[in-house]
């Protein structure tokens, strides 16, 4: 027997601001938060387009004593989790401690902290490193602090699959509730990668845009790094109904797959397979999907392959879909992407508006679907997909339906 799973709360911190309202407002105003960003560290400097978090004052959310141990990636996760739990109408003692899971995604953990330490040891040639490095940089930190905050003693872990981490995390949390392992989950992901060393590493791999993020557009030239966190509260349907919680959507299915082909270049079969797996679990036909929040990083290859994957999975119906990449507005937040973008998808379901793909100059030969270019698109959205494809070819897809149908 499997259980039905719904979303009862959402929370977010992004370059569009703190909170889900700020996110939605930014999305429908179609104004990108991507901006030239200058980073300076140890005498080195780089200026590249990025989407750093704005309007976030750490002391608004944490005491001075709490900050030394919390890298930004953990802070974003906690703040987004607080909003999601408040949104779900759940306080500290109401998490059913042993019956709640915390499953978060993070790609690199505490990059800022790591960089500071590296500057000291390599740049300044200091001999010692603060012991705080390990707890602060470890991927586990976000989950640890969220568990502590809400007194959760249930299954708690971090999935670290780069760009797909949070989507994988949500998929796992969904399956845990579905199979009766827990009744609730705090899930999603966060990342704080706007650091010089991260910029340099990705730039060295030649995947960063030096202009802006133009998913699916002609002349697109790469991804733009962003930061933040997106968290959902997932709950077993019956218990959500019993307490009269507002339901954003039902999670109907989750698909995961691997390309098994390249550490950098995606192949369409893997993503198509994950989509098919998700639809199968959701017991839906491809033509029942209205909107896809794409992975859409803005690289030549991802957007081309993703378009192929969508056509492979949906056939003719691909033409009826609206596919947009909100990375064009909030950047690529790696471990936070699945979280922030699933929140965006849930808001799209709620408002019946597909967020736009901005910075769009026009179609190119490989990308010819409806990407809601530059303006939000009001349309019927009953069922939506969130998909994420990580380096190494690891894919995750979620199916969400607004109405709980009998």
């Amino acid at each position: 027997m499997t259980r039905r799973v719904v979303v009862t709360g959402i929370g977010c911190v992004s370059s569009l601001g703190v909170g889900t309202s700020a996110l939605w407002e930014g999305l429908v105003r179609a104004r990108t938060a991507i901006t030239p960003t200058r980073l300076v560290q140890a005498g080195l400097e780089v200026t590249l387009p990025a989407a750093p978090v704005t309007g976030f004052v750490p002391l608004d959310h944490f005491t001075a004593d709490e900050l030394p141990m919390r890298d930004a990636f953990a802070q974003y996760a906690v703040v987004a989790a607080r909003e999601a739990m408040r949104d779900a109408g759940l306080g500290r003692g109401e998490t059913i401690p042993g019956d709640t899971a915390v499953v978060l995604g993070s790609g690199g953990g505490g990059e800022h902290t790591r960089e500071e330490a590296a500057v000291r040891l390599f740049g300044e040639r200091k001999l010692r490193c603060s012991p705080m490095l390990v707890p602060k940089t470890n991927n586990q930190a976000a989950v640890g602090f969220v568990s502590m905050e809400f007194q959760v003693t249930g299954p708690s872990f971090v999935i670290s699959t780069g760009c797909a981490a949070a989507t994988h995390a949500i998929a796992q949390a969904f399956h845990m509730i579905r199979h009766g392992v827990v009744r609730r989950a705090i899930t999603g992901g966060s990342e704080a990668p706007v650091a010089l060393s991260v910029f340099q590493a990705f730039d060295a791999a030649r995947v960063l845009s030096h202009t802006t993020c133009r998913p699916f557009s002609r002349e697109r030239d790469g991804m733009v790094i962003g930061e933040g966190g997106g968290i959902l509260v997932l709950e077993e349907l019956e218990s959500a109904r019993k307490r009269g919680a507002f339901i954003y959507a039902e999670v109907l299915g989750a698909g995961m797959s691997a390309d098994a082909s390249s550490s950098v270049y995606p192949r369409e079969q893997g993503p198509a397979q994950a989509i098919a797996m998700a639809l199968r679990e959701a017991r839906l036909n491809a033509d029942q999907i209205d909107y896809i929040n794409a992975h859409g990083t803005g690289t030549q290859v991802n957007d081309r392959v993703e378009t192929m994957a969508i056509k492979l999975a949906f056939g003719e119906h691909a033409r009826e879909l609206t596919v947009s990449s909100t990375k064009s507005l909030h950047g690529h937040t790696f471990g936070g992407a699945g979280g922030i973008e699933t929140v965006a998808t849930l808001l799209a379901l709620k408002h019946g508006v597909a967020p736009p793909t901005v910075n769009y100059l026009g179609p190119d030969a490989d990308c010819d679907l409806d990407y809601a270019p530059n303006d939000p698109k009001p349309r019927r959205i009953d069922v939506a997909l969130k998909q994420s494809f990580a380096f190494g070819g690891l894919n995750a897809v979620l199916v969400l339906r607004r109405d709980v149908v009998q």
Partner: protein, 402 residues
């Protein structure tokens, strides 16, 4: 649906050597591999006391796999061994119906350190492969690519509990029928220079090889390695007549709130062990061996001892920590210890710790062994393996002899 799950393949790379036979032999004869010199690995270090490391033997350069850091190479090597032994690669649905879930705490530390060096020396940018080498999912990606595995695949990163969490998740997926096979476990390379300095400052590293549960224990010995298990439905495995190591019968994971990042809470440990036994539908009175997390720290070992005493409530169960032999491999340690537990169950023996003056205040039935002599016999069919990570994330696995 709740299928029974078998372990049908096992691959190991550790400080005891390459391959499962070297691991098993080292464990059986109680020969520790913790004499690695700190300055060989960290030439820039200025002080180290008597700190030792568990180093995988062989050349440290990345010959033949420029795109893979050591944690990914170890995982691939262990996966090859496990998959070959399990005989699953040629089975019709293996590639679509296998999950690949591996754990790692830090990912590609070598590449990370190299990137810092290059950036700090103001050379050109970091190596183009930095991202793919550092990323925690590199090991999973490499395994999928090597065997054409296209099912659900991801990486778990929860400090010292990473690979136990990974095995547990894989177990649940095979058990529920979401997949028919799983390639699971974990891997870790030694920390880079920066992280190692941070470990030194945490003052939890031992003077010399770690001595869990011993009177004179002084901390952790960091080590590297990987262990990969292949899981399959027990009935299927029996039907095709493949070798079965043991049955994986229970798993639990939890958080103890992590109020003290360095020191785990015995209540959380106890709850985790109890939940795992409950999941396995096994009473504490059926246990014959516990492979403890015990890293060799004064407080950590004592806390776990307290939790175990409370679990056993007077029952006599043999306890050892094989970290005394293979070291603390952080994100890989749960998998290495699962491997040790499984090998002992299969062979009917208990891995012992090199003889040392025991800490009698712990009140446990500890298994000491003179290196080079035969191990103690295992008296019953069920064993428990614990992983209690920094930050309060816990996991426990239960295995039963077939």
């Amino acid at each position: 649906m709740k299928r029974r799950v078998a372990v049908v393949g096992l691959g190991v790379v550790s400080a005891l050597g390459h391959g499962r036979p070297a691991f098993e032999s080292g464990l059986r004869l109680c020969r520790a591999g913790l004499s690695g010199g700190v300055f060989t690995v960290y030439p820039r270090l200025t002080n180290s006391g008597e700190t030792k490391l568990g180093v995988v033997p062989g050349p440290r350069e990345r010959s033949g796999s420029p795109g893979l850091d050591s944690f990914a190479r170890f995982a691939l090597e262990a996966a090859r061994e496990a998959i070959a032994e399990a005989g699953v690669a040629s089975l019709p649905h293996f590639q679509e119906r296998a999950a690949v879930i591996l754990g790692t705490a830090s990912g590609g530390e070598d590449a990370r350190e190299e990137a810092w060096e290059r950036v700090s020396a103001r050379q050109s940018k970091p190596h183009p492969l930095t991202v793919v080498r550092v990323m925690a999912n590199a090991a999973v990606g490499a395994v999928c690519m090597a065997f054409g595995l296209r099912g659900p695949a991801y990486t778990i990163s929860t400090a010292c509990a990473s690979s136990s969490h990974a095995i547990g998740q894989a177990y649940q997926m095979v058990r529920s029928g979401a997949v028919d096979y799983a390639v699971t476990g974990g891997s870790e390379g030694l920390p880079g220079h920066t992280q190692f300095c941070a470990w030194q400052q945490m003052r939890v590293l031992a003077d010399g090889p770690c001595r869990p549960f011993a009177e004179e224990r002084s901390g952790i010995t960091l080590a590297e390695g990987a262990a990969v298990l292949v899981l399959e439905s027990l009935l299927e495995a029996q039907a095709r007549g493949t070798h079965i190591y043991a049955e994986l019968t229970g798993f639990s994971m939890g958080s103890d709130g992590g109020a003290d990042w360095l020191n785990a809470d015995p209540d959380g440990m106890l709850r985790c062990m109890k939940d795992a036994l409950e999941d396995a539908a096994t009473g504490a009175d059926e246990l014959s061996y516990i492979n403890a997390h015990a890293t060799g720290t004064l407080r950590g070992d004592a806390a776990e001892a307290e939790a175990i005493r409370r679990l056993l409530d007077g029952a006599r169960v043999m306890v050892s920590s094989t970290k005394a032999l293979h070291g603390h491999t952080l994100g890989a340690t749960g998998a290495l210890e699962a491997a040790a537990t499984i090998l002992g169950l299969e062979g009917g023996w208990v891995p012992g710790m090199p003889t040392a003056a025991p800490d009698r205040s712990l009140g446990l039935d500890l298994v000491w062994q003179q290196p080079g002599t035969a191990p103690a016999s295992l008296r019953g069919p069920v064993a428990l393996s614990n992983s209690f990570g920094f930050g309060g994330l816990n996991a426990a696995l239960v295995f039963r002899r077939i």
